[in-house]
Symmetry: C2
Subunit: 368 residues, 2 copies
């Protein structure tokens, strides 16, 4: 599989939904496979909160492959011998695209808390400029899970002629207060962390790279990304030390797991990006500008394929069913499919239980 990682700079304004703008912006993106002559084999992959443009393949010296490597590659469900796959890093995210730690060209300083709040539509709009630059006018499919699924829905509604298929996994048409509540733990923990220093933490300061506030936010995230059943089967009541049961800070295996994953997170993710990305997710609502959801989904022209996971504790299957029901209600029954996967890994099933839906994706992508 051919992998390329590139950066595109856009010396043009990006007008944002908030009324603000980015004077200029950059997108880092990765591609897998080869673009065919008539540019008809494009598949767009959208990433989730902590994801990046590195969706597949493994760089030299990299311990883990890209976040959806099970799914994308030669002969895999997203077959890179057939398709040209593009995954770009969302603007706002800290993996290389323009984000709060980028230089604001008007002040020559990092934006930090002056960065504008972005919406899912803004992220998609920036990605559309990338495709234009690459002279790609049409995709075979746009695919994403969680926050990537929000983007996928946004493509379906706001870029209705861009893609033949939209595949949205483990997502929602609008973020409900349950998900907003989990994000709130991280927002408060980061804001109150003295090292965060109101957004003026020192870049590359070892303390900022171990920011407790961000770790606590990640810990809250890890809980709602998994599920009670997964925790039971993965950890049970195993204790990490044999004699620590009556030690106040002795730990169960589940606590050790949470700590390990939470405290390593600030090494790879920026706290300002985290705040901005949570905000972007919190305010996502496909029923835009006080339109009803029906009016929004009425704009859809692509085939919309919804995949929900039975034990998703962040975006419950009912939220995906609501989208299906709306599509049926507005007379687009032939444009929508819904699959409920019996999952055991909670919200993260879209990442780790690929074997349960890959055949379904192959069917969708099969030339008809």
């Amino acid at each position: 599989m051919r992998i390329e990682t590139k950066v595109e700079k856009f010396n043009e304004h990006l007008y944002l939904e908030s009324g603000r703008l980015l004077e200029s912006f950059e997108i880092i993106y990765e591609t897998y496979g080869e673009l065919n002559e008539d540019k008809s084999n494009v598949i767009v992959i959208c990433h989730a909160l902590s994801g990046s443009h590195h969706a597949a393949g493994r760089y030299a010296n990299e311990a883990k492959a890209g976040w959806w490597d099970k799914f994308i590659g030669d002969g895999k469900a997203i077959d890179t011998t057939k398709y040209f796959v593009i995954c770009s890093n969302n603007i706002g995210s800290s993996y290389g695209s323009t984000n709060p730690m980028s230089i604001d060209s008007s002040t020559k300083k990092e934006y930090r808390l002056k960065f504008p709040v972005l919406t899912i539509s803004d992220i998609v709009k920036a990605q559309m400029k990338l495709y234009k630059r690459l002279k790609i006018t049409k995709a075979k499919a746009v695919i994403g899970g969680s926050m990537g699924g929000m983007q996928a829905l946004c493509y379906a509604i706001e870029q209705p002629t861009f893609t033949d298929n939209v595949i949205a996994l483990a997502t929602t048409a609008y973020t409900r207060p349950w998900a907003i509540a989990f994000n709130k733990i991280g927002i408060e923990a980061i804001r109150h962390d003295p090292i965060f220093n109101n957004g003026n933490y020192k870049k590359d300061d070892p303390k900022a790279l171990g920011l407790v506030g961000l770790s606590l936010g990640r810990m809250a995230g890890l809980i709602c990304y998994l599920s009670p059943n997964l925790f039971n089967s993965k950890f049970g009541r195993d204790y990490s030390q044999t004699d620590g049961l009556y030690e106040l800070f002795g730990e169960f295996e589940v606590e050790k797991y949470l700590k390990y994953n939470a405290y390593s997170f600030p090494k790879v993710f920026d706290p300002l990006s985290y705040l901005y990305t949570c905000k972007t997710m919190n305010i996502f609502d496909a029923g835009r500008n006080k339109d009803k959801l029906e009016d929004s989904f009425d704009k859809v022209q692509a085939n919309l394929h919804l995949i929900a996971f039975s034990d998703d504790m962040l975006f419950f299957p009912e939220e995906m069913e609501e989208i299906r029901d709306i599509m049926i209600k507005i007379g687009k029954k032939d444009k929508v499919t819904y699959k409920l996967v019996q999952s055991q890994s909670g919200h993260d099933s879209f990442l780790v239980e690929v074997e349960k839906f890959e055949e379904h994706i192959r069917e969708i992508l099969k030339d008809k």
Copy 2:
């Protein structure tokens, strides 16, 4: 209704499961109603993590009545014209019974992090000493929800002749990793809060009374005490400021609610008590000393009444059903009842949806 609040001091050792001991201890408790002559009308109420001995009635100048006032009072389900109700503050809790901020008689200093880890059995054992002092040898019922339900189960198993009925609501036979994970957020947040200062925070310091770490723990708790549906119906996507949607720190109503309740919590609850109480809950396992649950429940002589709530996101109905199934398996079908309440308030339903199970409780308590 006659209410009395009293403190009993015990100048005797309390031997703890950990192998440690409390040299002496105190219990603050409240009683409602009148003890009859043959002391046959006693009902014991056990409180949850953030509860206290103040279960019912309203003190002068008190804004809110006791935490289970809907349930306990003259003519209510726990009818104080008939019963003598006792609710004691758990040792370890910060409402007046011996806790980590109490004076260790051997050092003349506050215990703080030298306080021993307590188990649910230790708490119940201390309460049994209170009843002995009051010359009460038998209760008509022991009733508790959540951590109070753990105590109720412990009475059933470890004090089998003390009570005729045990009513356990919204609880579990052993704390599973999902619940431990929610507690972990608070434990880590408190430990890392610089004001906590490794347990050496200044008592009554306004900063300690607003301890962010404890607030974050409370916020995590508030999420799992409620439910996605309750959040939807209570808050929806209402925004607290009309023009704040694109402000990074603009808030949805659910965020305002969480903040208000989380940040007011350290004013009424001590962070060390919180750590110790979370630990007590985390290590609760009715299958003691490597006994199987079957062996533990085989000791039960009282009638065991289990009440679960359909949308409890902390201790799921399946956890209560497991107890019922064990009772049936070991031949105690006639000793167990199980009621699943169709609830809308999540775990907290045992506190706020009393009208859905009060009739059931009246039936249980009716003299047969």
